[in-house]
């Protein structure tokens, strides 16, 4: 079986601090895999190490069976693996039009036919061609995140890395973006690795997930297990309770 992404005993160390401690994760082709945990648990670091934005100090990362190293990757890698970041206010160039931002990846990879591709990409994320010559400050948060998704998809990657793609958005806009992501995954058979701190979002989007704490994977389970409450670790159960929202009785007990 060929894994789309396979991470083996990966460690990432910043100075003395171990952000990732011997983490192993396998994500099958066409699968949607979730990473959950609180801030500082290493979930974003894992994603950034796969994308080549953070160097690893130990361990191996294989993408479609091919080992990748360090922070310099070849063009073929970036064509296959693209990333969508958390904050659409920070991840788009503030002084470039949507057209210019979508042109950039095409120019880097020497892909022609940009006119048609840009229009198609915009159409795919549910924005019309009227958005093409706008600047990011003329768009709402949800529209910006759609542009970020369009920019990732325009290279027709097979793997999409999603770092909290909806946590900066309103609940009502979150639903639209999640639906869009599901739709493109179904249409293109993409592999997703999705980081989120919201268990509701992860169980909705992913079949399998890993729960991380202090740079380690503490539990691996399927979304079905989570829904049915087949949970082994106390930490996962804590997250589960937290995701159910505030309850006065629960507080009375602990207080």
């Amino acid at each position: 079986m060929t894994e789309a992404v396979s991470v083996e005993n990966l460690s990432v160390v910043f100075d003395e601090f171990k952000a990732l401690d011997a983490v192993s994760v396998d994500v099958g082709k066409g699968e949607s895999f979730g990473l959950v945990g609180e801030s500082g648990s290493g979930k974003s670091t894992l994603l950034r190490a796969v994308a080549g934005l953070t160097g690893a100090s130990k361990g191996a990362i294989r993408v479609s069976g091919r080992e990748v190293r360090g922070t310099r990757r070849d063009k073929a890698f970036y064509r296959a693996v693209q990333m969508v970041f958390q904050d659409p206010y920070g991840s788009l160039h503030p002084r470039q039009t949507v057209d210019r931002q979508l042109m950039e990846p095409l120019a880097i990879h020497g892909i022609g036919d940009s006119e048609r591709r840009i229009l198609k990409a915009l159409d795919e994320v549910g924005l019309g061609s009227s958005f093409r010559f706008r600047y990011p400050h003329q768009l709402s948060g949800g529209q910006r995140q759609r542009i970020a998704i369009a920019r990732a998809l325009i290279l027709e990657p097979s793997i999409l890395l999603l770092d909290e793609p909806t946590s900066a958005l309103d609940a009502s806009v979150q639903a639209e973006v999640l639906n869009l992501l599901e739709e493109v995954r179904r249409d293109r058979g993409l592999t997703f690795i999705m980081v989120s701190h919201d268990l509701g979002v992860v169980t909705h989007m992913c079949e399998r997930l890993a729960v991380m704490q202090n740079g380690r994977v503490v539990e691996r389970l399927t979304s079905a297990d989570l829904v049915a409450g087949r949970i082994a670790e106390a930490y996962t159960r804590n997250l589960m309770v937290a995701s159910k929202g505030f309850r006065r009785e629960a507080v009375a007990q602990s207080g």
Partner: protein
């Protein structure tokens, strides 16, 4: 019982180059010593409503109301001095992100003491004592250590607890919490909310809880106002949320992915232009 706060036909307008933007368009409600939630999307005017009550609307904006009164004091005609005396002492506000709303070059303890000194005649030792007590009340274990720390030296959850301490130390009667937990981790959110909940209940404060998360607000408050495009579209008791009539309220409730509910695709809001009328 006379209400703590009366808001009648509150409007907040921002003049811009392209014309006047009305962020709040005629909001009316009264608040007793209870927990009131205000829910809506970004741009619905929920935060500007809170800020207008607090008197923190930007100077170029225009605030009008038939009546905006706190315990019989007309807030709109009150002098700036009178409002300063109210702000922090009797009306306090908790902001969203402790990273940006605490003073980065002042230790946490000094920021708490500053509130006390502004509003009370109090000696240094006593102010420090009160601040430490307050830090302990928000369940910061090592209060005397945290007192001397700067905001960048503490975690988000700790910073938010410090902000709650800062706001409650002068014993306000009305607390406005503007997205107090949105910037925090899920696991820390509940802790902070339970601290807030306990203190509000113990001290019998009125609370206005502003958030975009309808479920969270309804689990925390007695009554919820739902805002859309600067207006209140529905007012509902938190316990009767399931019976919400307005399609916008129903949409906000339904669009969240819930563990165990298998809904693909998620229902999205179909915004009708007549909602904004």
């Amino acid at each position: 019982m006379s209400p703590l706060l009366t808001v009648e036909d509150l409007r907040v307008r921002f003049p811009t180059r392209t014309g006047v933007v009305e962020a709040v368009r005629g909001v009316s409600f009264t608040l007793a010593r209870e927990r009131l939630g205000i829910v809506g999307e970004s741009g619905s005017g929920k935060s500007q409503t809170g800020r207008a009550i607090m008197g923190l609307t930007p100077p170029h904006a225009e605030v009008t109301a038939k009546r905006l009164a706190f315990e019989g004091i007309d807030l709109l005609s009150a002098s700036p001095k009178r409002r300063r005396d109210l702000r922090g002492k009797r009306i306090a506000m908790i902001l969203q992100d402790p990273k940006y709303s605490l003073n980065p070059v002042m230790s946490i303890g000094r920021q708490i003491v500053e509130t006390l000194k502004r509003h009370e005649k109090i000696g240094r030792a006593e102010a420090r004592e009160r601040a430490l007590e307050m830090l302990a009340a928000v369940q910061i274990r090592d209060a005397s250590r945290v007192f001397d720390l700067y905001p960048h030296e503490v975690s988000g959850g700790m910073g938010q607890r410090a902000m709650i301490a800062m706001m409650l130390v002068a014993g306000p009667e009305l607390l406005i919490a503007d997205e107090p937990t949105s910037a925090l981790d899920v696991t820390v959110q509940l802790e902070v909310l339970s601290i807030l909940d306990r203190l509000v209940a113990e001290r019998g404060m009125g609370l206005i809880f502003v958030s975009h998360d309808l479920r969270l607000v309804s689990s925390f408050c007695d009554r919820v106002l739902v805002m859309y495009a600067g207006k209140i579209v529905e007012e509902i008791a938190a316990s009767e949320l399931g019976k919400a009539k307005h399609p916008y309220t129903q949409g906000l409730l339904n669009c969240m992915p819930v563990i165990g509910a298998d809904r693909h695709p998620l229902p999205v809001l179909d915004r009708k232009p007549e909602w904004a009328l």
